[in-house]
Symmetry: C2
Subunit: 332 residues, 2 copies
């Protein structure tokens, strides 16, 4: 079984009809350096909509009719690569399918530990590494800094805030709804949470951080980013990680009108791709694993069972319904 | 004689009625540490409109009825400071007046060399230092980089492009009108100039630099910045220096909708104030002076005679009519 891309959701919300189920996909045969992988767990990421849209810059172009791509973890069931044996746990770009043939060179072995698939796709995977490298290398938090995180209850945001606490920051998370906000402060240790659906973000940030924002981690864009740019402190670092606002409305949302505040504040706004730090991914993973073992950081995620639920699950992400990393369990 | 601020030009163009002439200003008396200065030359800077508007972050608040502030060079005619003697040439925040009383501690001595007032307000003053520090410390140009400069025919832009050539960049200037464009390539050594009034900037940049922009120096903002952000190269540095588009239209122009391209390109967008580099200003001034002596850089400016022409002259700046640094000569 697999799901294919049936339509490109450019400039509109994702809908169920963008995917088509294929209950009898071709099995395919292995070439040299190929692996046959049983898919165990799949990650839901905002970038997936960009992949479907063929947005430049992120990834390989997609085709209508191909298996919907997704980062995932699987177990090797057949190998034509010297580096992998049946039974190995692997991670990489997989897709919405219960079984796939992939190039061995594009896969990474995953340590077979308890909860390996969840961790490999969350804290020790692209979410955790994005949070780690974006924050340490671009945000460069200093003890005492005010760190504001938008989309704070998401897979990346929920880790960024925890890393900010480890770095000695005062952490303010912005999320939608009282449940998510309580979750941020009570379960993840954020100092404050602002419910953007009920509170005036700009005024509340002014109250909570009258001295301004030193590090702004933005997953959202749109009006939220604009409001927060107006509240940055001198020499602020603005880490642009995501732009979920771009996915939630027709056409391209306006840019941040208050961008010019980076001049008044001698501030920096910077983007990055996780691949920029590929050489250091092991360093990041080691640190995250240590903090996890020490209980200084937790992975709170949401796991939805069953590949048949993949489209509905990904739509939850764009509707902002998930708390923490959103995962699809395909098989145990 | 002096000009006072008569009205604040917030959210509209500057008009002659924003200033009031005062032919018999009070002479005033000197306190300890004061200097009486005969004003010789005044600088026209976009920031002056911000000062009149009391835009946060730039400077001391202004009051209606006060002398219009301007950076300038003058000669000391009376001193109550041990550090200054009559005859000394000084530079600092002066104003639209033929004579002023200022705090000695806010003034800097200027070397009495040929053309000292022009150079002190241009290449060796805030324009040159802004270009030097913004480009070297924020833009960090590398030999072979493509440098694009907006507002290239202005006081700062015309220096940025020349500094880019010294650093081994391929330099593309954007300016309004064929005269300015010819001036950039023929007199200042820019590799290319794009006339934004006659050419499609985005398409022309794609032609001239298909590999993308490595360093973008922006004096303009608005649609121009948005178009150029769509053409940046991987790891591009975007130096936000000015936002003259903000001065030319009612209300706040929309922000750059393509700001998110800094994620796809792992790029950086950064602002600065000249004061951030205050400790190193002498280093910058020495380098600029050496390149000037070697003929590797020139100051092409426009000097308008007579304090009575100050309002009209400053309005020229906001209408984009000047080529190079715009100066007002008050006295020889």
């Amino acid at each position: 079984m697999r799901w294919t891309i049936a339509a490109r959701p450019n400039a509109r919300e994702l809908v169920a009809e963008d995917f088509e189920i294929d209950r009898n996909p071709p099995l395919g045969t292995l070439q040299d350096d190929d692996l046959r992988v049983a898919v165990l767990m799949l990650s839901c990421d905002p970038a997936q909509k960009g992949w479907m849209e063929n947005v430049a810059g992120y990834a390989e172009p997609t085709e209508i009719g191909q298996t919907m791509p997704a980062l995932g973890v699987g177990r090797v069931i057949e190998s034509r690569s010297a580096g992998f044996a049946p039974g190995d746990l692997v991670q990489g770009l997989l897709g919405w399918a219960d079984e796939m043939i992939v190039r061995a060179s594009a896969m990474r072995k995953v340590r077979d530990e308890p909860d390996a698939p969840r961790l490999a796709l969350g804290l020790l995977g692209s979410s955790g590494l994005t949070a780690y490298f974006g924050l340490t290398r671009i945000g460069v938090p200093q003890a005492g800094d005010v760190l504001v995180v938008t989309g704070a209850a998401g897979g990346v945001g929920s880790i960024v805030g925890q890393l900010g606490k480890i770095a000695g920051c005062r952490v303010i998370g912005i999320a939608g709804g009282p449940d998510k906000c309580r979750w941020l402060t009570e379960e993840l240790g954020f100092d404050h949470a602002i419910d953007y659906k009920a509170e005036k973000v700009k005024a509340r940030v002014r109250e909570l951080a009258p001295e301004g924002i030193d590090v702004l981690w933005d997953n959202v864009g749109g009006q939220m980013l604009d409001d927060l740019l107006a509240r940055i402190a001198r020499k602020a670092r603005v880490v642009i990680c995501g732009g979920i606002a771009r996915y939630q409305q027709q056409g391209r949302p306006p840019g941040p009108g208050s961008y010019f505040n980076i001049v008044f504040k001698s501030a920096r706004m910077e983007g990055f791709l996780l691949g920029d730090f590929a050489e250091d991914h092991d360093i990041g993973r080691d640190r995250l694993r240590r903090w996890l073992a020490e209980g200084r950081i937790v992975q709170r995620d949401e796991v939805v069972d069953g590949l048949e639920n993949a489209p509905q699950t990904l739509m939850r992400l764009f509707r902002g319904l998930n708390r923490g990393k959103l995962l699809i369990r395909v098989a145990e």
